[in-house]
Symmetry: C2
Subunit: 387 residues, 2 copies
Amino acid sequence: MVGGGQLARMTHQAAIALGQSLRVLSTGTGESAALVAADVVLGDHRDLDALRRVADGATVVTFDHEHVPTEHLHALEEAGHRVAPGPAALVHAQDKLVLRRALTEAGEPQPVWAEVSTAVGVADFAGAHGWPVVLKTPRGGYDGKGVFVVDDVDAATALLDRFGTLLAEQRVPLVRELAALVARSPLGQVAAWPVVETVQRDGVCHEVLAPAPGLDDELATAAQELAIRIAERLGVVGLLAVELFETADGVLVNELAMRPHNSGHWTIEGSRTSQFEQHLRAVLDYPLGVPAMTAPVVVMANVLGGAASEEGWAGPGLDERVHHLMAHWPDVKLHWYGKGQRPGRKLGHVTALGDDLDEVRARAVAAARYLADGVVDPAFAFDEEHP
Amino acid sequence: MVGGGQLARMTHQAAIALGQSLRVLSTGTGESAALVAADVVLGDHRDLDALRRVADGATVVTFDHEHVPTEHLHALEEAGHRVAPGPAALVHAQDKLVLRRALTEAGEPQPVWAEVSTAVGVADFAGAHGWPVVLKTPRGGYDGKGVFVVDDVDAATALLDRFGTLLAEQRVPLVRELAALVARSPLGQVAAWPVVETVQRDGVCHEVLAPAPGLDDELATAAQELAIRIAERLGVVGLLAVELFETADGVLVNELAMRPHNSGHWTIEGSRTSQFEQHLRAVLDYPLGVPAMTAPVVVMANVLGGAASEEGWAGPGLDERVHHLMAHWPDVKLHWYGKGQRPGRKLGHVTALGDDLDEVRARAVAAARYLADGVVDPAFAFDEEHP
């Protein structure tokens, strides 16, 4: 697996059960996956030699991020390595303009868009579809980075000067954001998890609610079928996360990821087959596992470095917070990524399961918030001396 | 963790979620845990220097087997290392005579027993309690090794000549074997999983049925309380598996293990907190997790090297069998230990979950049997070409 972050870390956990050991290409020994995997190759994912070193002797090369240059992936394939997903599929998760063109060609629902490289182009687009306009860098964005909402030509010009060609999109009147996660094997077997709601703040996923609460059955099925169609059309092997905007008129495709995805962390405990196991099954060309849920409601909450990660924090330290979390929520599952604490960083996640959405969500969010900010939710007040 | 077998391998999986990385003392690079852990110390568990190397800098030293000499554990403690379970507790899992004496002193139920070192001693015991007599080596036995059922003085004499002092036990008229698994933290918090039935053949565990089918509620509670009393009395920190004989009159203690145990593998998917996570929580002095079951019925079946591990096997190879297993039972969870195949060896296990014991058990056993022996159960017949 190219990339040593938390996705590789959790994929390694799943690999162990399958009798595999994940080899990881990591930029440093301190990365999440490098801390726990037996077989770590140090190197940069933009360095073809490093890629060759991690590929050599591996059954298949796969990814925990989208940042490997396409030409390097072709070079690996030409050298006889199996790459999953392959470069022709992966480029749709790497380049938003490529994705938009492909979806237009396929006739799939997406926001109105245009490729813009001049102020006039943006002004024309806004003239036709109104301000504000969403401008996105075609490559390299994640977690809200590379996405800008602009209200006038001056702001657009500044971005064009800085980034060059951009993707312009009409701002969509959102009901909420959803994600449809599917897996596809080389032979075309697919498996779809229930569609989930992703609760974002500032472009960063904070919570995932599985299944998406109150989602119309037909719309849920349509979203799953949309994801399966995209996986088939693009020839995805492995996981495909389709990030969706739910609007009054249905769903629109926001963007794609072709790897285990934050919207699928809930599957570790919440599905009979976790996204990490399923990704491995798919890229290793094993039959896929059942994606059935293990509880009626599952909520995942990210632990993003917060007040407790800031310098000068005088509250309980991390180990003490973990202690309190476990004492107070003995049924909340913790996944800690082994990273240094830093404000805004995804440090870990927690998962809660149960029958009642409000209760399960409150439990997950309170636990994550306590870890991140040291804040005790009044609904979950406890005595830190005697948790 | 001292020992690099499958218990350490699965403990490492659990450690990753807790933000930990398990350091493993392994006798070779090819051991189950050494294949997947980032931090492997090579050495023998009987070598104090090796133990010091694995203990140095570790939060706590724990075990995946019972074979570390007690004096070495005292030496580690004297050097300031935390050892969990401590040597005073662990000796009861290491030495069956020590266990028998402690249970007699505690007034806990166990088979009638005596320490014997002469043929006359065995004859006296048999005179009082009848033939056959069960003779056990006090130390070093596992999976039925070191246990002998003898019918006369000659057979007993041969064993005494070979092993010296033995534990003699009355053969108990068994209803079945049960196991009560509990965890205990340094502060004395305990958590008990439901009592399970362990299905043994030739002293080797083949299946674990959770919860033990049809077990009387009072007897189940009594077995859990017995395990908790033993954990408290012996000062166990970590997991305690109490292997029990169910008889017409209640339960008797067979033997103890103070580590994750084969009778608890079902907890990985079958309990909100797996035995591996719970052991880590306990030895790291974190609060314990909820031991609730995630499904009404969970069955674990061991995959013991069978016909398919024998030389000259002409059926489908391991990878092909795994492929068929996944295709035919997409909801059966596989845990493969990464070991070389050898007849009789514990190569992995499978877990099935559901509502109906007969169905769940048949599914788990058929899947395990197909992996081990390449035998397709008629009830699960499938076309190998098109699974």
